[in-house]
Structure formats: C-alpha cells, structure tokens
C-alpha cells in the first residue's frame, strides 16, 4: 500500500468530495462504463431480442401489434430444412473458398515480390490499399459496368483476342465466376499485406544459415519460409472464411443473387427472408444458427492468432495480445 492510499483511507469525505473520491478510486470502471452500457443496450439486448423473435411467429402482419404466438423451435426446423437456406450456405462457402484459394496464392506471390527494397515500393503499397478501402457498393457498380454483356469493356478486350462475348452476369455459372473474381480483386490485398507483415517478421539468421549450407532459394522457401508462415496463412484463411458469411454489399450491387439464385449468398438470403418476405422469425432463427457457426470460426481465428503471435517471434509479441 502506498503512502497516498493510506492518507486516503484515513480521510473521511462528505458531499461532493465523496463523489469525487469515488470517481477517482474507481476510474478503471468509470472509464469502461459508457462502452459497456452501449454494448449491453445495442448488442446484448438485440441478441436476446433475436432469441425471443426466433421462438415466436413474427411476420409483416403482426410485427407492429405484438402478442406474437409462441411456436417453440419450429422456426429453426423450418430454416434448417429449407433448401434455399442450405443452397445459400453452400454458395457462400464455395465463393469464399474459391476466392480464398486465389487470394492466398497471389497474395503470397505479391508478398514475396514486395519483400525487398525497390524504387516505388511505397507508392505501390498505397495502390494495394485502394481496393480494400473502396466503398463496396461502388466496387459492385463499376464491375457491373465493366462486365455488362453488350457494352462492357471486359467483353471488348476478350473480343480483341478472339473470344466471343460472354453474358458475365446473365449466365448462372459465369455470374458465379464473376462474383468470385470480383471478390478476389477486391480483397487480395488483405492477404498480401498480412503475409508481407509475416515475412518481414521472419528471423534473418535462419536464411543466412541456410544459404551458407548451400540451400537454393526454392528450397529456402519450401523448407523455411512456408513452415514458418503457416500460422499467418491460417489467420488469413479463417478471417476470409468468416468474411464469406458476411459478404453482402458487393453481391447486392453486382447480381442481387441472380440469375435465379445462383449467387444468393447467405447474408443476402437472410436479408431477403427478413426484409423482402418480412418473415422476421425465420430470419431470426437463421441469424442465430449463423451466429453459432461464426462463434466457432472466431474461436478458430483466435487460436490461429495466438499461434501467430507467439510462434514467429516469441520475444517480440504484439503488445495487443
């Protein structure tokens, strides 16, 4: 106990002084309080509200009235046996997985390319940041212009090398390819930047030793860089898989789930259920099911992050973790 504390315990306070003293002593909680209250009101309460919605039947007709009929777990049963929902779940996983594969491969190539000093590096890093920061709706808009089957410039360019026009957003398969391609274009810098951070944190000594032992650059990559980078790669994979379940804006602007339901990702399906069909209870059940799935993936991510920050350089841990 410091002398300051002793003085405080011996003094009695009254009135305003007591409040001041209380605020001063409890600063750690007082400072946290506003954020905690906000999280309780705008996060915890809505989640509880969602649980309540999911066991009742709430739709367009009775949403404003209240007095919703209790239906138990029917909404969950309906949601999980609904073919559209299962389809949307797979579309999201498939899109996420396909784009992720491209992102990891090209992101790694880019990171290896950038892992040296060269003229114009800073400028190019800036350009890399651009797609990630762009308004997702705008990204959807300009790709919609580019991919238009009649006037789009993509068809013009492939026409120059003799490939006939394609209905990029009109054909179910090509629309899926387009969504994957645009997602890849938009998000590849994320894996690139995380990989670059990982590469620059690798210990130089190991590579020096390997080159003295006569290892080629290819061997050094295969046997040193790749194994050391696995925790970083895991972080990117889990992070982007989680993103796959959140993808909404770009798909909304690009295809709005069409043609048919070929690009109807899970977030779009949830939006349609709740706001186009006004079936709020069903949407709440879907949302809760997805939350549990996300919780699981997030737990995986946090494990991967722990491994990443203690695995690469135990000495210099990120101060945040």
């Amino acid at each position: 106990m410091s002398s300051q504390d002793q003085v405080n315990t011996l003094t009695t306070y009254s009135g305003l002084g007591a409040i001041e003293h209380f605020l001063e002593k409890q600063a750690r909680f007082v400072l946290l309080l506003p954020a905690v209250i906000l999280l309780a009101v705008l996060f915890v309460y809505p989640i509880i509200y969602t649980i309540d919605l999911s066991v009742h039947n709430v739709n367009l007709l009775n949403v404003a009235r209240g007095g919703w009929p209790f239906v138990g777990l029917d909404n969950f049963y309906d949601a999980l046996t609904n073919a559209d929902f299962i389809h949307a779940l797979w579309v999201a996983v498939f899109f996420g997985g396909a784009s992720l594969l491209l992102e990891v491969v090209l992101g790694m190539i880019l990171a290896l390319t950038f892992n040296r000093a060269f003229v114009g590096k800073n400028f190019l890093m800036t350009i890399c940041l651009l797609p990630m920061m762009m308004t997702p709706i705008a990204v959807g808009i300009f790709w919609r212009l580019l991919l238009n089957s009649q006037w789009g410039i993509v068809n013009y360019f492939i026409g120059l090398i003799g490939i006939p026009r394609q209905a990029w957003l009109g054909d179910p398969i090509l629309a899926q390819v387009s969504v994957i391609g645009v997602t890849f274009w938009w998000q590849v810098s994320f894996s690139f930047l995380v990989f670059l951070g990982g590469l620059t944190a690798l210990p130089v000594e190991v590579f020096e030793a390997a080159s003295i032992d006569g290892a080629s650059r290819r061997q050094a990559f295969r046997y040193i860089t790749l194994p050391l980078m696995i925790p970083v790669i895991l972080v990117v994979i889990v992070m982007r898989l989680i993103d796959a379940f959140r993808a909404f804006d770009v798909v909304y602007a690009l295809t709005d789930g069409g043609p048919g339901n070929s690009t109807e990702v899970i977030a779009l399906q949830l939006y349609d259920t709740a706001f186009r069909h006004q079936n709020f209870s069903q949407a709440a059940a879907l949302a809760l099911f997805l939350s549990v799935l996300m919780l699981f993936l997030t737990a995986l991510l946090l494990r991967a992050l722990r491994a990443r920050y203690s695995g690469i350089d135990g000495a210099e841990r990120s101060p945040a973790l």
């Binding site: 909680f29 969602t50 190019l124 920061m133 995380v194 939350s291 722990r306 973790l321």
Partner: protein, 275 residues
C-alpha cells in the same frame, strides 16, 4: 550468369509483374471515372473512346436530383457523429484496459472476436426495435447501429497505443495535483494522437461505406449516399453515366484517405499484422 545479371533479371521480373498488378487494380475504377465524365453520346462507343473532352453533365444530373444535398449531409453527419462517439468511448475504455489491465489478454481476445461478428444478423432485431421506437428513417438509429459495429475494434486497436506511453508521465501529473481523468485527457490522449487519428479515419470510412444499415433503417428522409447509388443500379443504359458519376462520388473520400494516411492505415486493416 553473374550476380549482377541475376539481380537485373529478378528486378525486371518484379517490375513487369507489378506493372500488371497496378493495371489490374487501377483500370476498373478508372474506367468508371472516365465513364462519369463522358458525353452520353460516346458512353457506349465500341471500340471504347479513351480520349475525349470531359463533361460534368452526369454530375450535374445527379446533383440536381431532389434531396441530393440532404442525402449527402445525412451521410457526412452520420459518419462524423458515429466516429466521434466511437473514438471518445473507445479511447476511454482502451485507456482503462491499458492502465489497469482490466480483463487481461482474455478481454483483448473477446474484443477482437467482435471484429468478425456478422452484423447482418443484428439487422432483424434493430429493424423491429427501431420500428417500435419510431426511429426508422431517423439518422440516430443509423448512428446507434454503426457505432456498435466499430466500438469493440476501436478499443482493441487503441490499447497498444496507450501501452506505448510511459505511465510515469501521468504519475507526475497526478502528484502535481491533476486528477486521474485530467492526466488521461491532458497527457495520455495527446500522446496517443497518432492512434486516435487513424481510428477516427477508419471509423469515418466504415460508416461512409456502410450500406446495410441505411438499407434497412431508412426509407426517405435518412437515406445515405450508398443507398442513393444503389437506386441508380439499373439495366437501363440511358442512366449509365449517372450511375458512374454516383460511384465516382462515393470513391472520393476513400481514395483521398488512402493517399493521405496509407502507412498508418495498414496496421488497422491487417489486425496489427504489419507494423
């Protein structure tokens, strides 16, 4: 091959590769910008016209639409209020977490966990709660929704900035008669300025870019720019120039921010992966 030749070969490869990446990243948005300043007569020319006299006709058309400035102001006001609330509450909480280690590393992981929460899931309860409160089509419902999205991550990202500030400075201030809060406000906050500014910008951009909350929480009065842009999406080619102009307007703040703050943004975007 000598070392020098090998080096030149590598660097040639690097530059050729990077040239293609640069083209792939800049041409798609650039094409939209070009479309937005083209005369409607040449918007659909095939082969495309690359050089032309620019016109602001498309921008004039969208600015002259009813309520354009109201929607622009909505977006700016919502973004500013949201990012300031997030910064203030986030910095206070982060200061507490940094100085008292409240919750320890478990708390930090919990906060990071919020980063991955799919906020589309909050759409349903928000819509119903705000409908019953009569706050649909009111900018405050959007401010509330956006704030909760960014707050946990704001706290998470600010803690290390406070960790870097030596506590002795505040201790000295407290001994000189400064209150705990005074020390935080006069010493810790100014010293953590770099982190606070980055967070303010990231949160402003997050709200500016947000599409989902205005989509469900606004009907007429409280619309934002992303909603207006989405309403331009149509297969009617006559409005292509307008659509491109709207998309271009949306991109002005992100592009400005990236060029002005690039190095500082990298850390925030990659979960602290790049220092």
């Amino acid at each position: 091959m000598t070392r020098r030749q090998a080096h030149i070969a590598t660097m040639t490869f690097v530059y050729v590769f990077l040239f293609f990446m640069l083209a792939a990243w800049s041409l798609p948005p650039l094409w939209m910008v070009l479309t937005s300043i083209k005369d409607p007569g040449i918007t659909f020319s095939i082969p495309p016209v690359w050089f032309f006299t620019p016109t602001l006709e498309n921008f004039q058309a969208i600015i002259n639409r009813p309520f354009f400035f109201q929607y622009l102001m909505n977006t700016i006001v919502i973004s500013i209020i949201t990012s300031v609330i997030e910064l203030l509450l986030g910095a206070m909480a982060a200061y507490s977490l940094s100085r008292y280690r409240t919750g320890g590393s478990k708390m930090m992981f919990l906060l990071l966990g919020f980063r991955t929460f799919p906020y589309v899931l909050l759409g349903v309860p928000f819509y119903i709660i705000f409908t019953r409160l009569g706050l649909i089509d009111n900018i405050w419902s959007q401010i509330a929704a956006n704030t909760i999205v960014g707050l946990p991550f704001t706290i998470w990202l600010l803690v290390p900035f406070f960790d870097d500030i030596p506590y002795e400075l505040e201790e000295a201030a407290i001994l000189d008669g400064c209150s705990r809060y005074g020390a935080m406000w006069r010493i810790a906050f100014p010293l953590a300025q770099a982190g606070l500014v980055v967070m303010l910008i990231l949160n402003f951009m997050g709200t500016w870019n947000n599409f989902f909350f205005p989509l469900i929480l606004s009907t007429q009065q409280a619309k934002t720019m992303t909603i207006v842009a989405s309403e331009f999406i149509t297969d009617d080619q006559a409005l292509w120039g307008n659509l491109a102009a709207m998309g271009t307007l949306l991109l002005i703040p992100p592009i400005f921010v990236v060029f002005a703050f690039q190095r500082r943004l990298v850390q925030g975007l990659t979960l602290g992966g790049v220092k």
